[in-house]
Symmetry: C2
Subunit: 478 residues, 2 copies
């Protein structure tokens, strides 16, 4: 038995600030009170304890209150990604068999018409039906469900339990430490595990979350340079904008700032070098929906020595490469630990998520002779050309090292001779000729890896957490 | 499945210092290597994986290496208190049915003669039999066993599992925070949970333990005032000496020093006021063998506002008062959480340690209107002397075994040095000298349990059902 985290946090540190948003703040006691009220209101609208509901909304305190209310009711919350198409959302809502989608009014138009919607406002204005809020939670209780495509192409609804979230949070703290003064900036979406896990950590750690509606370079630079925040979760493109902003203004990270936790793929070397110059500590992490966020993290001290690595597992986690114990041998990355999902819902409910406790990630990687993990590529993006494996990330890394290149995305296209060949999409910093870029690649890559075509584009397709969606690159060709 | 903590810590941070003792230091990699060697040596001497052994020794790296080796072998380690009498040790060794006592040569003379002893030196000089060290641990595996008398007077061997130790350590870190630079001074005995838990936290946190053979005021003052250490576990008598030392030398705690964690009974107000003056942060804690150390802790900020309180539970722990939900109503303190022992060994193996998950501590207390715990009286008149638990029933049992003694009653009185010391009240059968009775006690009890004074009385205070009322004993002193 574990105490209800929201009640326990309000009991232990009622007056500490738990949430700040656009200048307004809420203590943990206030968060408790509002979330209990919302739970009473949801109850009066027919939401039962333990039922499965979907939630959709932009990063906003109203979304947080609604999530906490669902946690009081032990609901299984399907967190919908508001960047998806109606068709994709329809699939998830049907697969999860949710009774209702609790939705921010502003997002209602994003949902398919036939869906049973419960707008936030209707909840907030509802009568209250006081019920006894569960004071006891169990580790196997499902808190959240997030859909992820994984290796199959068909999105699977991944269960994230109380135990998964707890172990993720405590493993993280053993790695990066904790102080009462910590403030974590959340500019990644709450509907992704990167954002949701910030919320969970705040309950367990008793720390303030500074919530952004969406990523805002100016505000973030100010928060980092003044020490208003101590931690931030970023993906590469956000990091680049932060670095660019600090450089442009001649600013540095405050000594109070502790860590930018960078997920969603490798960070180019030149970002790390630039981060060093502006005194911004960066830890790269390897995590996924199925592991309720981080599994491995590379410490800032190792960032340059172990360039491209995702580091070592967090304390209670284990990583191995399938079918090998040898260093530097590539294979599928397997993960074991108390943070690994017990399984899926919907059509994949009976699919085993693990074998002997090991999650088969579908990602390819190796472990070096000091035990550092290198993720070579996410399996689904693999390009096979003339029998040779090509990993887009590798080509993108080379391209992004060129001064003229701001962002790069690589994918494969069909080729009658080779099966597939790689092509590249580039967002430029400054003007450059294609030939120069290709020459640059020839100097850094095996010939078969050099892109067969280069397209200059305005922006790259990214998902809600700003992660590059390589499969959408081809649509940029006209 | 959880990774073997010693191997995992050495994998994650091989070069960090894990242990320092009298000027010599060991990295986590070195601790791993030495402990694996010791495990091989123990194997060659017939110690099998999963077997139950006893360990006895003073605070010393050799003891740590032996403990870590036993952890590799998943042994159930009975940690013997080296202050106990031969008779007391004999009881524990027999009750636990251990095959062998692994013992520091210097402590061999403290053991009963017939016991099967395996001196440290013999292990250290033994051949090695390499075996496969278990890389996987489970939460229900028993790591350590410590004897505590509890309410019965008969010492019970308390199981402390991998899960108990893990949850204790992670709950503690959520309360007091963590930084890579943390160094915890261990001057309390490793055979007590207060010391053993420092060792466990070091493995999970990756922090240095500065080990003292025994408490040394001069050294500790220097460590605190120079910032050589950040944390220390103390009992009241140690805290007083530290304060006195700092005051005498006109020193203050370094800003790097974070916390003195004070267990084993309440801290007098004037200690707290003096601590404030020398900038020494003190957190009082309420814990016991059955909860693998801390259950509740009072933060330094609350120390004076909530004088006499033991604070609030750690995040994953729960506390309630039996048969009441009202503030300020006294009753038995009940504790629930993943840090609570699953039960006992030996003659109490079949005794339930909990009811509905709640440990019945036997301690009396109340919770105030803000949720702070106050321990009013320790279980069955427990006397705490210099951090050691003394159970009156045990001393009374020894006294009553003397032919001249008809009845005996024991209670504690205040003592400026030790907090409390035991005194005895005797109704005689026949004339006997006090000295003879005390000599008799010395032969059967640990020295700290021997009554500091003996009073001969006509009769003992008893209630209607003829039960001894120990709290009224003091009134017999004129």
């Amino acid at each position: 038995m574990y105490p209800n985290w929201i009640l326990q946090r309000a009991y232990l540190t009622p007056n500490r600030i738990g949430l700040t948003f656009e200048g307004e703040s809420w203590s943990f006691e206030q968060l408790k009170q509002i979330s209990v009220t919302r739970a009473y209101q949801l109850t009066s609208l027919g939401i039962e304890e333990g039922s499965r509901v979907a939630i959709m909304g932009q990063n906003h305190p109203r979304l947080i209150f609604m999530i906490l209310a669902c946690m009081h009711l032990k609901c299984e919350m399907v967190l919908l990604n508001r960047k998806l198409s109606k068709e994709e959302l329809d699939y998830q809502i049907k697969d999860a068999k949710v009774s209702v989608v609790i939705v921010d009014e502003e997002d209602e138009h994003l949902l398919p018409q036939k869906v049973n919607k419960l707008p936030f406002l209707k909840v907030e204005e509802s009568h209250e039906t006081p019920i006894e809020i569960s004071e006891q939670w169990t580790l196997d209780q499902t808190t959240s469900i997030m859909y992820t495509s994984g290796t199959t192409g068909y999105p699977k609804g991944v269960r994230q339990t109380v135990g998964n979230h707890k172990e993720s949070a405590v493993s993280s703290v053993l790695n990066i430490g904790l102080s009462e003064e910590d403030v974590w900036l959340c500019a990644v979406p709450i509907f992704h595990i990167s954002g949701f896990s910030i919320l969970i950590r705040s309950l367990l750690y008793g720390n303030e979350v500074k919530l952004y509606r969406k990523f805002d370079t100016e505000g973030t630079i100010s928060d980092i340079s003044t020490g208003r925040i101590t931690h931030i979760s970023v993906v590469a493109v956000m990091l680049e904008r932060i670095l660019h902003g600090l450089e442009e203004k001649g600013l540095e990270a405050s000594p109070k700032f502790k860590l930018a936790l960078a997920g969603g793929g490798p960070i180019p070397k030149n970002y790390l070098l630039r981060a060093q110059k502006v005194k911004l500590s960066v830890s790269q992490t390897y995590g996924m929906t199925e592991t309720s966020s981080q599994t491995a993290t590379l410490s800032n001290e190792d960032a340059l020595r172990k360039l491209g690595s995702s580091g070592k597992p967090l304390f209670f986690n284990q990583i191995k490469i399938a079918d090998t114990n040898e260093p530097f041998v590539e294979g599928e990355i397997l993960i074991r630990g108390p943070h690994v999902t017990p399984g899926y819902i919907g059509q994949f409910e009976h699919k085993n998520s693990t074998v002997d406790g090991w999650l088969h990630t579908g990602d390819i990687g190796y472990i070096d002779d000091e035990g550092y993990l290198y993720v070579v590529d996410r399996r689904t993006d693999l390009i096979i050309s003339g029998g040779e494996n090509i990993y887009p990330a590798e080509i993108e890394g080379v391209l992004m090292a060129h001064p003229a290149v701001k962002e790069a995305g690589v994918c494969g296209i069909e080729d009658t001779t080779w099966g597939q060949v790689p092509i590249a999409f580039i967002v430029l910093n400054e003007s450059v000729r294609k030939e120069e870029l290709l020459d640059y690649c020839i100097g850094h890559l095996a010939k078969y890896k050099v892109p067969k075509e280069v397209y200059f584009v305005e922006q790259l397709p990214r998902n809600g957490s700003n992660k590059l969606m390589r499969r959408k690159l081809k649509e940029l060709i006209h």
